[in-house]
């Protein structure tokens, strides 16, 4: 019943052949499959991480851009407000100056009118005086001497009396 013969060698060979066949037919594909899946999962995880990092970076950049835009808008508004105020102030200043100028001109005009009125009055006074003198003084004096006398009188008059004339 128990006899060892060449079958033992045949059985070892049979088994080794079976190992080789199974390794080729079944084991390798399964292991390759498992490895492929492992790789795919690892790759997917890496990709997910990278995607999330990219999304975060984009979000951060967007926020920065938005903040910069807001700052810039504020600056522009401030500048515009400042410019408007300056313009306003300048126009008020200008108006004030014009009013001042107009006032001065008016005063000068008044002054001038007054001077002219005084001159005119002087002339009229001289003429009246002459007429009066001509009537009063019988003595015939020639006109030039007469005028000199009257002019002196008027000048005196001017200094003493007309200075206080209210006009």
């Amino acid at each position: 019943m128990i006899e060892i013969n060449a079958t033992i060698i045949a059985q070892i060979l049979n088994f080794l052949i079976l190992v080789v066949i199974l390794r080729m037919v079944a084991y390798k594909p399964v292991v390759r499959m498992l490895k492929a899946r492992e790789d795919k999962i690892a790759e997917s995880l890496d990709k997910a991480d990278a995607d999330r990092a990219a999304a975060e970076a984009a979000l951060r950049q967007n926020k920065e851009t938005l903040a910069a835009a807001q700052t810039r808008a504020q600056e522009i508004i401030d500048k515009a407000e400042k410019m408007a105020r300056e313009e306003h102030d300048a126009s008020i200043q200008e108006t004030k100056r014009e009013i001042e100028q107009m006032k001065k001109n008016a005063q000068e005009e008044i002054q001038r009118e007054r001077a002219r009125a005084v001159e005119q009055l002087k002339g009229e006074v001289v003429a009246l005086s002459m007429a009066a003198a001509g009537k009063i003084i019988t003595k015939n004096i020639d006109a030039s001497d007469n005028e000199a006398i009257i002019g002196e009188f008027i000048a005196k008059l001017d200094k003493e009396k007309i200075g206080d004339l209210p006009c």
């Binding site: 019943m1 128990i2 006899e3 060892i4 013969n5 060449a6 079958t7 033992i8 060698i9 045949a10 059985q11 070892i12 049979n14 088994f15 080794l16 052949i17 079976l18 190992v19 066949i21 199974l22 390794r23 037919v25 079944a26 084991y27 594909p29 399964v30 292991v31 499959m33 498992l34 492929a36 899946r37 795919k40």
Partner: protein, 224 residues
């Protein structure tokens, strides 16, 4: 129904072969290959059905190997899977009427046991060199005697445990059929069910012991 203990032999090129064992071995091989092909055809990236089971077996075996042997034990995974499948199918084949287990022949079991033990020593020498030889003389050189007995006992126990279990099972099936009248099948059925259990257990034991022996040789102590 063949007579117990009598084997058909064929002579080929001056060698004697047990014909029935060879034929049964080839049938077993065919079944194992067929199962392997059916289980692993149409592999998909997203597993379903049988692929889950196959992957679970292989990843489980890989993790077992990683723990007991380290990384370089991975190359032995196909051998271990094949060993288990071959022994399981062999043990169960003999339970079918008119069939016989290849493992009821000592040539098969001793052949496998010797193959494992030779592999253990070759891998041990290859991976560890002089250190492997030195460990037979630990802790004192006298222990070489005990160690040598142990090393010789390993293949013999492996081979005879499997051989005895399977042959006894088959003999008892025949005896029960002869002892019991044809209308009383219960003892035969019980024994058949028990034989199925024994076949699985013995295949498992043989494989686990082979793994243990191999891991001793392959495991790298400095790897931890």
């Amino acid at each position: 129904m063949h007579e117990i203990g009598v084997r058909e032999v064929v002579q080929f090129a001056g060698w004697t072969f047990n014909w029935e064992t060879l034929v049964m071995t080839w049938i077993t091989m065919a079944i194992v290959i067929l199962i392997a092909i059916l289980a692993t055809r149409n592999l998909k990236m997203v597993p379903s059905g049988w692929q889950n089971v196959v992957e679970m077996v292989i990843t489980g075996l890989h993790s077992q190997i990683d723990v007991t042997m380290g990384k370089r034990g991975r190359m032995l995974a196909p051998l271990i899977i094949t060993l288990f499948l071959f022994l399981l199918i062999s043990n169960w084949l003999g339970l079918i009427p008119q069939m016989a287990s290849p493992t009821n022949d000592l040539n098969t079991t001793l052949g496998l046991a010797l193959l494992i033990i030779v592999m253990v020593h070759c891998l041990g020498l290859y991976f560890k060199g002089g250190h492997y030889i030195a460990h037979f003389f630990q802790p004192v050189p006298v222990f070489v005697i005990i160690n040598a007995i142990e090393e010789v006992a390993k293949p013999i126990t492996l081979a005879f445990r499997l051989f005895g279990n399977i042959l006894a099972g088959e003999i008892l099936i025949i005896i029960l059929l002869k002892l019991m009248p044809i209308w009383m099948p219960i003892p035969s059925v019980i024994w058949l069910a028990f034989s199925i259990f024994i076949g699985g257990v013995q295949a498992f034991i043989f494989t686990m012991l082979s793994m243990a022996y191999l891991s001793n040789a392959v495991k790298d102590e400095h790897e931890e």
